[in-house]
Symmetry: C2
Subunit: 345 residues, 2 copies
């Protein structure tokens, strides 16, 4: 597998991207492509869909050769399917991309280099097959040494409720206010958006905190790393990921992400979503170990299921009750400005 | 690597063992062999040392052929060296063992199957090379489903201070009292002693709690799994391992292991060993998530650095202060009986 990229190891991914949509017909399966369009539009030159696809990013359709001519340096597989496999019907397009001079970036369960056609073509053409779910080989055991610079981590009352988008929104808002900040990605879509990062859930447990230390190295005294959270300290399956990330990130500030109205934890039977108070308590109790000055900056509510009036009223009520700003980054507004100010305070 | 065992996957290891000591001259490097002699004497038929070795387990010296004739079915590499490598000078003996009909069991950094001589001999002879640091491939994501039976987990204020020996001592004491109990191993020496288990620190983070669920399956209502703890919830490098193990183990009872007098955490700069109170608080706060009835059964102190009088006085004082039994399993006595009774209460 000499042609396989050894993992993200914080080397930048080849960019910009051609977004590959396969034959996708459900928006939910195209969330990587749509996330890239929303959060990294300057890194996306166009899209490539197969006959039968009904979802579009709205970017111009391009062949691999046209995309290369427009500056693209990688084709990103921007869709998932239920098995996480790369179907035979996609392979001709992927080989065509390699032939056009594009590397391929993917984050599916099936490894690119395990497909002989792709491995052989990449080898023949000197192209990279980059699997962003593969962590770097050289992750050290964490030292716990306090690093310079400032850090914010998004944490959650459950999985999949807005930790990535909250971190992206906060990093963008920090930069808009003239603050030196980087978004640090910890999951596959985030890594594609950032152009690098650490696939925290794929790291061997003994090195989990070390991986988080590697992801956010020493920074300037006024620099902020805004780190994408993973899982939840209260999730019976994924809390190990969350705790290694918390310890290694040494955050000065955390923002609790929550989806009002969600009752059951994702993928578990009989577990209620944690309360924001429980998550504050656990995050402080555990986070203090590597950063005694850790504090809660406020709350990010995913209110996509509510109408504007309900959402704003709920967030005002919760902000008054909790004594800290509550905002939905996708709605922005004064509440979000208050959250940003509280984090930077 | 078709001859390589896929990992412990809770299949029993081939037993009994011939303990291989290499050319070891420091007792500390022979702790796996010595641990097997102490905790699994019925699984050890003899030892094999090379010229120059000065450490002995006291078991009869045997050639591989003699060991096979005496019933042995595996040679266990019972020594470590600083690099975790298998030196060239050992290889003839290891090939001789394969030829005599023994499988080889090891838990070093260097993989047995990466040594061509061993791989080829194992393939030719139909023998297994079993690397107990390799977790099984089929670990599921945790479900959090409450399992039947009872569970005890040893937890620690730091690494390497007696969690394995405490679990072994408690499991042995439970059985001696007529209680149906199994020791569940989570590290390499423990796995060799138990003849199976789960190398928790080598599991990918996303599956850490799932691995712990797999390790201690549903049991009879009066059956106890006594689970070897790993790391510490307060350790800046290894807490992810500890939390996945805690969530997946769903312990009814935990015992806090501590070494009085140790000041700094292992392998970190500037981190003090946690207090037993801190570990109780964190273990209760996090463990309640998967077992609301979790309780602290008492304390296991590693008093090997103290003389008998000092040790007993300290444990009496601490027991009075903490309101629960404090014992050193290696000293036994009334204090240990009280700890066992408190765990079973």
């Amino acid at each position: 597998m000499s042609m396989e990229h050894p993992g993200p190891d914080l080397r930048p991914l080849p960019q910009p991207y051609l977004l590959f949509l396969g034959d996708v017909t459900e928006r939910g399966f195209a969330k990587t492509a749509l996330g890239l369009r929303d959060w990294a539009p300057d890194k996306c030159v166009g899209e490539l869909a197969l006959p039968g696809a009904t979802v579009t990013t709205g970017l111009p359709p391009m062949t691999p050769a046209e995309a290369y001519a427009a500056g693209a340096r990688a084709l990103v597989i921007g869709v998932a399917n239920s098995g996480g496999v790369i179907p035979a019907s996609w392979r001709a397009s992927l080989v065509e991309a390699l032939e056009a001079g594009l590397d391929i970036v993917a984050g599916m369960h099936m490894r690119l280099a395990d497909i002989p056609e792709l491995r052989d073509a990449a080898q023949r053409l000197g192209r990279q097959l980059i699997d962003i779910r593969v962590p770097p080989a050289n992750i050290p055991v964490a030292t716990g040494r306090k690093r310079s610079g400032k850090r914010l981590l998004t944490v959650g009352t459950d999985c999949a409720l807005g930790k990535k988008y909250t971190a992206l929104g906060l990093a963008r808002a920090f930069v808009a206010r003239g603050v030196d900040a980087d978004f640090r990605a910890t999951g596959q879509t985030g890594i594609m958006i950032a152009g690098g990062g650490m696939p925290m859930d794929a790291v061997i447990s003994d090195f989990e905190a070390g991986a988080a230390e590697m992801l956010s190295p020493d920074g300037g005294p006024e620099h902020w790393d805004v780190i994408e959270g993973q899982g939840s300290l209260a999730h019976p399956a994924y809390a190990a990921v969350s705790l290694g990330l918390l310890h290694g990130s040494q955050p000065d500030v955390f923002v609790v992400c929550h989806e009002p109205g969600r009752t059951d934890m994702l993928g578990t039977a009989g577990y209620q979503v944690a309360t924001v108070e429980e998550i504050i308590e656990l995050t402080l109790a555990l986070g203090r170990r590597t950063n005694p000055n850790i504090r809660c900056g406020g709350f990010s509510f995913n209110t996509s299921a509510l109408d504007e009036g309900e959402a704003l009223a709920l967030m005002r009520r919760e902000s008054a009750r909790l004594g800290l700003p509550v905002a939905d980054p996708m709605r922005g507004g004064a509440a979000f400005d208050a959250l940003v100010a509280s984090c930077l305070a």
